[in-house]
């Protein structure tokens, strides 16, 4: 599966900032580190700010800081700000869903959605940061 661009930007920004919550990092630095558009990142950071996960630091230097809780914020908390991981569970329907074949397909897709929800919902930012440090 693939995550949408905005979601990936958000996760990269959160991981970069949460690695050291005392450090201020500019949007430009984050954009350069991950090869993402500064314009795009700015919109993402505004969304993260409204969710209370990052805050803009005023004054000389400026930049952003992680303002969430690394242990309690999960990947799902971030992802859910930008996309719907469980559209079928939420009742979003597509053409053909009312047919027997459509319903059978929905059951299979719901299995995948449930696994995705459990996976994203069980990995905190702190756990992701530990994963970054593990040799692959």
């Amino acid at each position: 599966m693939r995550l949408q661009k905005a979601t990936r930007c958000a996760l990269f920004a959160i991981l970069e900032l949460a690695a050291d919550p005392n450090r201020q990092v500019s949007a430009g630095e984050i954009a350069q580190t991950f090869g993402i558009s500064l314009n795009h990142l700015a919109k993402v950071l505004r969304t993260l700010g409204r969710a209370g996960l990052v805050e803009a630091v005023r004054g000389a230097g400026g930049g952003y800081r992680f303002s969430g809780n690394r242990r309690r914020t999960t990947l799902l908390d971030v992802i859910a700000l930008f996309e719907t991981v469980d559209p079928i569970r939420r009742g979003l329907r597509e053409d053909g869903d009312a047919t027997a074949a459509g319903q059978a397909l929905c059951r299979v897709l719901m299995e995948i959605e449930d696994t995705a929800l459990a996976t994203f919902g069980s990995i905190s930012i702190e756990t992701m940061l530990k994963l970054l440090q593990r040799p692959s």
């Binding site: 242990r71 999960t74 449930d114 696994t115 459990a118 996976t119 919902g121 069980s122 990995i123 905190s124 702190e126 756990t127 530990k130 994963l131 593990r134």
Partner: protein, 150 residues
């Protein structure tokens, strides 16, 4: 809520003994809402003694948590590996390193017994315990649990 932090190890990890079983029953009942005295008595009977992996975290004689593991071989085609099939930490003692210490202790025992992998299984909606195991570096393994109604 106890104000110990993770840097202070105020507890000991040791093999569970008969005197721990009543506290295990109480703790499990608090966590699951269901008291299972016969179940835990039989679990203790199976997993006590030399080579057992039923460990308790205690502060004095007060149980703060427990973990139970065993080596299983060739089930579902899997070479021998260590399985953690129960863990419980008292609500007032979470986020203090007790769960991690128990998990590391049982993993150390598994390594000594010659296995290189630790596994567990849990309900998909058990977010608290799943988050804990993930924080200990566990990721989804190559097996899938399937089921149907009979």
């Amino acid at each position: 809520m106890n104000d110990h932090d993770e840097s202070q190890q105020f507890y000991a990890i040791r093999p569970a003994g008969p005197a721990d079983v009543p506290q295990v029953i109480l703790l499990d009942a608090e966590l699951t809402g269901l008291a299972k005295p016969e179940y835990w008595a039989s679990v203790f009977a199976r997993h006590s003694g030399p080579g057992s992996h039923f460990l308790a975290a205690v502060e004095g004689e007060r149980l703060l948590g427990f973990i139970i593991g065993e080596i299983r071989a060739w089930e579902f085609g899997s070479p021998p590996c260590g399985w953690v099939f129960a863990i419980g930490i008292a609500a007032g003692h979470r986020q203090q390193g007790v769960g991690r210490a128990l998990f590391e202790a049982v993993c150390a025992r598994f390594k000594t017994d010659g296995v290189a992998t630790v596994r567990t299984m849990l309900a998909r909606d058990n977010a608290l315990v799943m988050s804990f195991f993930r924080s200990q570096g566990m990721m989804a393994g190559p097996f899938v649990q399937l089921e149907r109604d009979l």
